[in-house]
């Protein structure tokens, strides 16, 4: 008997394999990843949220991404934004394709029927249009205004309407989107939210002077969506979503045999045991003026000389400042820039979201095939973020570093720290756990001069020099000038004590070109 059952099951499995749910692209950058590939075909969905959160725009993107003359989209408008204005504004977005309007994308106004409050007439009109046009995508905007009839028609009539509409549209091979301005309290006990397969919730929050838009997939039958709140931005391309797990999909194991990469400063390479390990995250911490950006420039230039494309993501100093500094060190960044081997990504808009920044950097890394990345600096990156995003800064930074270093990109981040003359902090942030290697730059007072020293604090991948070395910034960039000093104690405090003999002091010219000016 058991054998017969097994045989029957096996036969059934061969004859009737499990249904495959096709996924439609959303046309919303980032949303397909959040949805685990796209929107399930023939699903019945709600796009909900407060006014101005991008519901209509998102629906238009989905519609224009999928509609063709053979499989058109049907957009019913009902007492929401007047169709004339909707088309006027939507055509400002780059996804809007006027050639599709009226053939692949059709608009039908239901306002008069909705105003009459006759749900049967509304359903009859939808049925008639759908039957005539045979659309693959159906949108009702705003379904909330249709639902307002519930007070007149009663809950059972509304439930019946929703059931009939759902069954009809699903049977008619249409993927449906109902748009509505719902409050969260309306989701409880509402038959509509029980019936739907997908629930896209858009929201916006004002924090101080910034607005932060978010998307949450509250429900998504048939797909493994990414839970949680995802950042959303509305730009010229329409709505763009940034998954909470942005970047993780691209992470790969670091190569087992990793090369040592030159920092572009021979003595520093020696201090680091031959250079930074490929795929490491290196933090350069130091106060203002200690040469963090100079060191970052030399790091990128060394990579370019070695055929490793690079990205410099900068948030404070302008790109021209970077190329000018490189010129003054005899390092040519302009040619690699022109050849597409180097991109200087300057990001300083208001209300920057950390996910957007990550996306910009990840895109740039992909564009140039970058092997080295500079983030200069973490402090200015955080300052450029909208206040609401600063809470997520460390988490997002962690994601980006893991994703990029996992893909073999070597990252140099700079961070500004204040020199205290009693302590030796690496950073205001608890970010050292994100980094494999840390180099600390600081000022010390020696022989009546404020000089600069550097020390390699940590190298996860191997041994390193423990020496505290003095360096200067010359027309060659950062140059480590002396072997470790044994004549002082307490160099890390910034106010060392001389323990050795005092050599005669000549009148020394200031060694740094900018000091000569």
């Amino acid at each position: 008997m058991k054998n017969k059952t097994r045989a029957a099951q096996s036969l059934l499995a061969r004859v009737a394999p499990k249904v495959e749910i096709a996924k439609l692209p959303t046309g919303v950058r980032g949303l397909d990843d959040i949805l685990g590939g796209g929107i399930p075909e023939f699903s019945f969905n709600i796009i909900a949220g407060a006014p101005g959160t991008g519901k209509t725009t998102m629906a238009h993107q989905i519609m224009f991404a999928n509609a063709t003359a053979k499989a058109p989209a049907l957009y019913f408008t009902a007492l929401g934004e007047p169709a004339l204005k909707m088309l006027r504004y939507q055509q400002q977005f780059t996804f809007f394709d006027a050639a599709k309007v009226s053939k692949a994308v059709r608009f039908v106004n239901l306002s008069a029927l909705v105003l009459e409050g006759d749900l049967d007439a509304v359903l009859a009109e939808i049925t008639e249009q759908v039957t005539a046009i045979n659309p693959s995508i159906v949108v009702v905007d705003s379904f909330r205004s249709v639902m307002r009839n519930m007070a007149i028609t009663g809950e059972m009539a509304m439930q019946s309407f929703i059931q009939r509409l759902t069954q009809f549209l699903t049977s008619w091979h249409a993927t449906t989107f109902l748009i509505g301005e719902y409050g969260e309290e309306e989701t409880r006990g509402n038959p509509l939210f029980t019936v739907v397969d997908g629930l896209f919730w858009l929201s916006q929050k004002v924090e101080r002077n910034s607005v932060v838009r978010k998307l949450q997939i509250l429900k998504a039958r048939g797909v493994a969506s990414v839970p949680g709140l995802h950042t959303v931005r509305i730009g010229e391309g329409g709505v763009q979503a940034f998954s909470r797990t942005l970047g993780f999909g691209r992470s790969a194991d670091k190569p087992t045999r990793r090369r040592r990469l030159s920092m572009g400063i021979p003595e520093l390479d020696k201090m680091m045991g031959g250079g930074v390990l490929e795929g490491d995250s290196l933090l350069i911490a130091g106060p203002s003026g200690t040469g963090k950006s100079a060191l970052a420039t030399q790091f990128i230039a060394a990579g370019l000389r070695n055929g490793e494309p690079g990205i410099m993501a900068i948030f404070e100093e302008r790109p021209q400042g970077y190329t000018a500094r490189a010129d003054s060190f005899g390092l040519n960044l302009k040619t690699p820039q022109a050849k597409g081997k180097l991109e200087i990504v300057y990001l300083r808009p208001l209300d920057l979201s950390v996910d957007e920044t990550m996306q910009e950097i990840l895109d740039a890394v992909e564009r140039v095939g970058a092997k080295r990345l500079v983030i200069d600096s973490l402090v200015s990156l955080e300052m450029a973020l909208a206040p609401g995003f600063r809470e997520d800064f460390r988490e997002s930074l962690y994601r980006m570093i893991v994703a990029l270093t996992g893909a073999g990109v070597t990252i140099l981040s700079t961070v500004e720290v204040e020199d205290s003359f009693t302590g030796f902090s690496f950073s205001h942030y608890t970010i050292s756990f994100l980094t494999d290697d840390i180099i600390r730059l600081r000022y010390v007072e020696i022989d009546g001069q404020l000089r600069k020293v550097m020390v390699v604090i940590k190298m996860r991948g191997g041994n390193h020099s423990k020496d505290i070395r003095e360096y200067v910034i010359t027309d060659k960039g950062v140059v480590v000038i002396r072997p470790r000093s044994t004549e002082y104690d307490g160099l890390t405090t910034g106010i060392p004590t001389r323990t050795g003999p005092r050599p005669p002091q000549g009148d020394e010219a200031a060694p740094e070109p900018k000091a000569r000016k």
Partner: protein
């Protein structure tokens, strides 16, 4: 007073002529203009609803009336259809009657171009009158030669 762009007037004149084809009498130009508006009403009422189309046509009529006074007796009904034509037809000259039709249709097309943009308006006109050869620059601002 917002006068319709001369190129749009020219297009309106051609559309009316096309609608009047088959009619021998010049007095048919007014019904032809009304017929052209009615042809536009069908797709636009689907998009905007009868009320939405009626509002747009009323605005076009108001703008046209400031230029052609006899159009003041015409009005738009609740379904977005032009009414009140019978009276003036008997009293105005054929030329004045033709001018009224052209100005009204040109104002309606001009409003569509303002709100929907030249590209969508051009597509709509080509869809409604597929046989008519329409210059793609007609609704582009400032492209008049």
């Amino acid at each position: 007073m917002r006068r319709a762009d001369p190129r749009i007037r020219d297009l309106a004149g051609r559309l009316i002529a096309l609608e009047a084809t088959g009619s021998q009498s010049p007095s048919m130009t007014i019904p032809a203009a009304f017929a052209a508006c009615e042809k536009l009403r069908r797709p636009l009422a689907t998009l905007l609803g009868n009320v939405g189309f009626g509002a747009l046509l009323s605005r076009a009529l108001a703008l046209a009336t400031s230029e052609v006074k006899w159009l003041g007796v015409v009005h738009v009904d609740a379904g977005g259809v032009l009414e009140g034509l019978a009276g003036p037809q008997a009293t105005i000259s054929p030329a004045e009657s033709a001018r009224g039709g052209v100005v009204l249709l040109a104002q309606l097309l001009g409003l569509l171009a303002t709100f929907l943009g030249g590209d969508l308006t051009l597509r709509l006109v080509r869809e409604v009158w597929p046989k008519l050869d329409v210059d793609s620059a007609v609704f582009v601002k400032g492209s008049a030669k």
